[in-house]
Subunit: 493 residues, 2 copies
């Protein structure tokens, strides 16, 4: 290992950059090679790391070898291995060589493209890739730069929701005459299945928590938001003198993968002049395939749409695409032009300054990795990727459905299989399935998480880790059966 930094302090010496980076590439390749040897969910105890690391920074440099040894001995055991082929929890953070290469280039250039002039390529590639992505999803041209809209890459859906909520809020406040007092009249709508960060985002932008409406879902609609209940809630609020503002609809909810009926919700939104945002964080990726595109039917009625390539689109964290039909409302709400950022390009009004499309000023060149993912795989392979995961999920669902000890709680829409052991012998279904899930996860051989709908606790198996192959799902099913036998046995004793 080079000791350049120790002797002469050259923090970016080209020789040692090359040598050390390649050593780390080998370290990472070995990690992937051995990834199935680690328990998927980390088994460490809270506070484990403080016993193996010093409690203050070293005065003199440590060698790269020492650092990598510590990564191996102290960090890896504390990771829950999201890249493991037996990771079926939450929604995945899928990665790929192409995504990794894009992250490397982003980190190496390390440009901060807050406005066009601070790195024109960062802004322009982002706009172009957002249009590419929009075309792959067959979005109407009203969401494209080449049409009348436009898009931006945020870190996460929560950021996209915060920004569009702020845009909708400020648009409404202006229409209401400009007094800030009206903020307490604004009402937002979601279903009781909508991701919890929606509430967090709404509260963050100053919407009173008493003005959050959660439209009740049920088995009758497979936990999709019923448009008629939304309409009733809006009417009630109008009659109370409140101002309905924003609806968050979801394609692929977190707990059970429900899909809200976009076209019908869009009609309600347009009738009452509400901002309709579509959160397609996970399932959006599937919509590049013609057979799944119908989930987006009605998208032309929405104001904005977001999806996260960092979930199921092989793009390393973090990357959330947000498209808007009228970006000017976002810009009205979020822009400012201090003297120290003044420049001729901005003044000319022909460029995009992405600082005005997001919460923060600084931003990474995230478009690079999405561009690499698309180019290195092509639409062809990206569709193949989606389809093979859906096929695996379908096979897994069939295995579960065939075993009469189990039940599919909500039918699979895409790649989330939502199932449980049927309650038996008077044992509470929640307790039974919590025990089963604990037994599976603590085996270290797979990792799944849970969801609760209509009071029913069930296990979520999501297919989507990059390295998952057919045999990993067969192994998972064997593991589930093995642990189910034990858990059921305990209950009858």
């Amino acid at each position: 290992m080079s000791r350049a930094t120790e002797n002469s302090f050259l923090p970016l010496d080209i020789g040692s950059f090359r040598e050390e980076s390649k050593a780390v590439i080998d370290f990472i390749a070995d990690y992937y090679k051995n990834i199935e040897k680690y328990p998927v969910q980390s088994k460490v105890e809270p506070g484990y790391l403080s016993s193996s690391l010093p409690d203050s920074a070293p005065y003199s440099p440590d060698s790269l070898e020492d650092v990598l040894n510590d990564v191996n001995d102290s960090i890896l055991p504390g990771l829950t291995h999201w890249q493991s082929p037996s990771f079926f929890a939450y929604y995945q953070a899928s990665s790929s060589t192409a995504g990794f290469l894009g992250e490397m280039l982003c980190s190496a250039f390390n440009v901060v493209g807050f406005n066009w002039i601070s790195s024109p390529a960062a802004t322009e590639l982002e706009s172009i890739v957002l249009d590419w992505m929009a075309k792959m999803l067959k979005l109407p041209s009203s969401f494209l730069f080449s049409g009348t809209g436009g898009g931006v890459i945020h870190g996460t859906t929560c950021e996209a929701v915060v920004c569009t909520l702020a845009a909708a809020r400020d648009k409404a406040m202006k229409q209401l005459g400009g007094s800030w007092d009206n903020i307490t009249k604004l009402v937002v709508y979601a279903s009781d299945q909508t991701h919890f960060t929606f509430q967090k985002a709404a509260k963050l932008v100053g919407i009173p928590p008493s003005n959050f409406r959660f439209i009740q879902t049920s088995f009758a609609t497979e936990f999709a938001m019923p448009p008629q209940l939304l309409r009733v809630a809006i009417e009630n609020d109008i009659q109370s003198g409140l101002v309905p503002l924003y609806i968050c609809a979801t394609i692929g909810t977190t707990a059970c993968g429900a899909v809200d009926p976009i076209a019908e919700l869009g009609k309600v939104a347009n009738e009452y002049n509400l901002w309709l945002h579509i959160d397609a964080a996970h399932a959006g990726s599937a919509c590049i395939c013609p057979e799944f595109r119908h989930f987006l039917d009605g998208v032309e009625l929405a104001s904005s749409l977001s999806m996260n390539p960092h979930k199921w689109f092989l793009t390393n964290m973090d990357c959330c695409c947000l498209w808007l039909k009228e970006p000017r409302f976002l810009i009205d709400s979020l822009s400012s032009n201090p003297e120290y950022l003044e420049n001729n390009a901005t003044k000319s009004n022909v460029v995009v300054d992405y600082k005005d499309w997001q919460v923060t000023l600084s931003r990474r060149f995230r478009a690079l990795k999405l561009w690499l993912v698309i180019r290195r795989h092509g639409l062809e392979n990206l569709m193949r990727h989606i389809r093979s995961d859906v096929e695996l999920a379908k096979q897994f669902e069939a295995l579960v459905a065939k075993d009469e000890r189990f039940e599919i709680v909500v039918p699979r829409r895409i790649v989330l299989v939502f199932f449980r052991l049927q309650p038996k012998h008077g044992v509470d279904g929640g307790e039974l399935n919590r025990k089963l899930l604990d037994a599976i996860n603590s085996s270290g051989r797979a990792f799944m998480t849970q969801g609760v709908v209509a009071g029913i606790f069930a296990i979520r198996c999501v297919v989507g880790a990059t390295l998952t192959q057919e045999h990993h799902l067969k192994d998972l099913w064997s593991l589930i059966q093995e642990k189910a036998r034990l858990v059921l046995l305990q209950c009858t004793q």
Copy 2:
């Protein structure tokens, strides 16, 4: 180049991962080797990129070779080269081999550490490194996990300010009895030099823009916030029935590098029970050196402090450290616990779940890169890094001061030299210096930006790019003199 992904669709094949990653490392090393050949500020015209890229995604994969050729031919010319040794604009985004290696590991593990269980190492390393960093800055133990406080890594200062504003807001609303109507009474304070994103953040969390107070600064205090004016503003607001909430103080403002008097502002904050946040985004790095630590005197009176290692601490984008004396107020404001994230570790209440310390749910394992930067350099070299940049800035300031055509507009505090050509021959100083700055930047040989204080337009030269050496500042000074001669000549013609 491997064609694995073309033939068999293995998006994370270990062989091609290794091979392609090393090819990109070589590409990046060559970029650094040639970085001085590019114009520092990109010379492309708006819309340049759309002419060289197709307007939709490829159906079949492109080879890595083709992609890298496009990066070379189409992306590099559109970059403003933040890693160039002749980049003296804004505040830098300094990087290092160690920071890059940390980013690689982060991207490769690609874990999403929203709560402890989702990757214990990600949470625990972050807490440990935040304590390391706090000790390097000699923060009181009230900001450390090993004391009674704690810290978190955000992406940027803006995010830190949004979150602490929300925490302060919700704390105050509770104290006021819980009615959301009180949001319109809350008042926030900053100086007229405070970064513009403070206003953006305050508006984002629902503080009425009419309740933003900008305390006027002047040459008399070298543009630091005068505590007595702050006190007057607070008293006025209280008399008007408003509720003073939050002060944002800055160590190293953006325009001219002013340093607010923390101890005196802290006294005012504590007297009136306001949340005092210290934004030390850039200059915080200097405070690891004993001779600059005095900027933080009085920090024990603050509620929170943020600084960005991604600016001047050799840590690749993005990384903002935020410490809080009472993290519970942040958690009270930002936490939520949906059923699908339930887990025993969270229930035990002995772990940190960082999702409750930030806007978003998802988060990258950013602590790795800061840990690598600290370990690979050691406090010793990190101080050397700061000191050598300060020394270069001092030398440059002396060159400017010695030339009687120029003036130092505001004395240098750390590494920002704020200077201008003196107005002459009846030519407006703003016009003269705009012309000079344009001439310098369009030469492609260096890049600086401007600031305006008390109506005076001046040029900012910030020293801090990783690759900058003494001769780059000498070259800059020659360039400035060359262009000044021309500009002055034009004015007298």
